[in-house]
Amino acid sequence: MITPITLALYFLLVLGYVLTYFFIIYHLMKYSLHPSLNNLILPVFVIGSVIILFTNIVLFSYVDWNGLFSSLVSTSSY
C-alpha cells in the first residue's frame, strides 16, 4: 500500500499541475489575439498535457513505494 504521505504529496503536485493547466487554457481562450493561434496551440497543449499527466499517474501507480521505503529504511539502519 502506498504511504499516505506519498499519496498526499503526489496529490498536491497533480493539483498544482492541473490548476496551472487550466489557467493556461483560460489565458489562451480569453486573451488570444489571433483565432488561428488557438486552433494550433490549444489542441497541442491540451492533448500533450493530458497524455503526460495520464502517463505520470500510471507510472506513479507502478512504483512499489512500500518496498522502496522499507529498502531505504533497511539501508539506513546498516
Binding site: T20, H27, H34, I52, L53, V63
Partner: protein
C-alpha cells in the same frame, strides 16, 4: 506592412483597426528557452546515462521510480515552457488607427492594460543599445505623452525605427484629422453666424 485585420483584442472599438501587433523580440525569450533546452538535454542524457552508471535503475525495483521521476521532470519542463510562452506572447503592444494599447502579462495572475491616444503623443525616441540588439535590430521605443502616464515604453521590440516611423505618421494623420474637423466646425459656425 503585415495585415492585422484578423487580430482582435478585448476592448477594441467597433470602428477601430489594428495596424500593428508587437511582441518582444525573439532574442528576449531565447535565454529562457535555453534553460528549458538545457533541461531537455539533462532529461534525455539522464535517461540513457544513469542506467549505465547505476544498474539497479535498468534492472531492479528502481526502474519504475526512475521512469516516474523522468516523466515528472518532463511534466515540469512542459508546463514551464508554456508558462514562459504565455508570458511572452501575451505581453503585447497593439497599435491601432486611434490609440496604442499596452498589455503587460506578468505570469499567470497579473495583467496590466494601459492605453494612449495618438493625439497625446509628444515625442518618440528609440534606444538600440549593445552589439546583439544592433545586429538583430531590436530595442526600446519610448513615447513621451501629454497625459498622466508620462512615458509609454515598448521593451525590446523588433525594428524600433520602422515602428517609430509608423507611429509618427499615425500621429501626424491624427493631428491632421483633428485640424480638419476643427476647421469644418469653424466654417459651419461662421456660416451659421452669417445667416443669423
Amino acid at each position: 506592412m503585415r495585415n492585422f485585420t484578423k487580430y482582435h483584442f478585448g476592448g477594441q472599438k467597433a470602428d477601430e483597426k489594428v495596424l500593428l501587433v508587437l511582441h518582444r523580440h525573439w532574442f528576449d525569450i531565447i535565454s529562457q528557452f535555453f534553460v528549458l533546452l538545457a533541461m531537455v538535454f539533462v532529461l534525455i542524457g539522464s535517461f540513457f546515462i544513469l542506467p549505465t552508471i547505476f544498474p539497479d535503475i535498468a534492472h531492479g525495483q528502481f526502474t519504475n521510480l526512475f521512469l516516474f521521476l523522468e516523466n515528472l521532470f518532463f511534466m515540469f519542463i512542459w508546463i514551464t515552457f508554456f508558462l514562459v510562452w504565455v508570458d511572452y506572447y501575451f505581453d503585447v503592444w497593439i497599435v491601432t488607427d486611434q490609440r496604442i494599447v499596452n498589455i503587460e502579462q506578468k505570469g499567470l495572475f497579473a495583467r496590466e492594460v494601459s492605453e494612449l491616444e495618438l493625439e497625446k503623443i509628444q515625442d518618440i525616441t528609440t534606444d538600440v543599445n549593445g552589439l546583439i540588439p544592433t545586429f538583430l535590430n531590436f530595442g526600446d521605443l519610448q513615447i513621451q505623452t501629454a497625459g498622466k502616464e508620462e512615458k509609454f515604453i515598448f521593451h525590446n521590440i523588433p525594428d524600433p525605427y520602422e515602428v517609430k516611423g509608423i507611429i509618427m505618421n499615425l500621429h501626424k494623420s491624427s493631428e491632421q484629422k483633428d485640424e480638419n474637423e476643427f476647421s469644418e466646425m469653424l466654417k459651419e459656425k461662421i456660416h451659421h453666424d452669417d445667416a443669423v
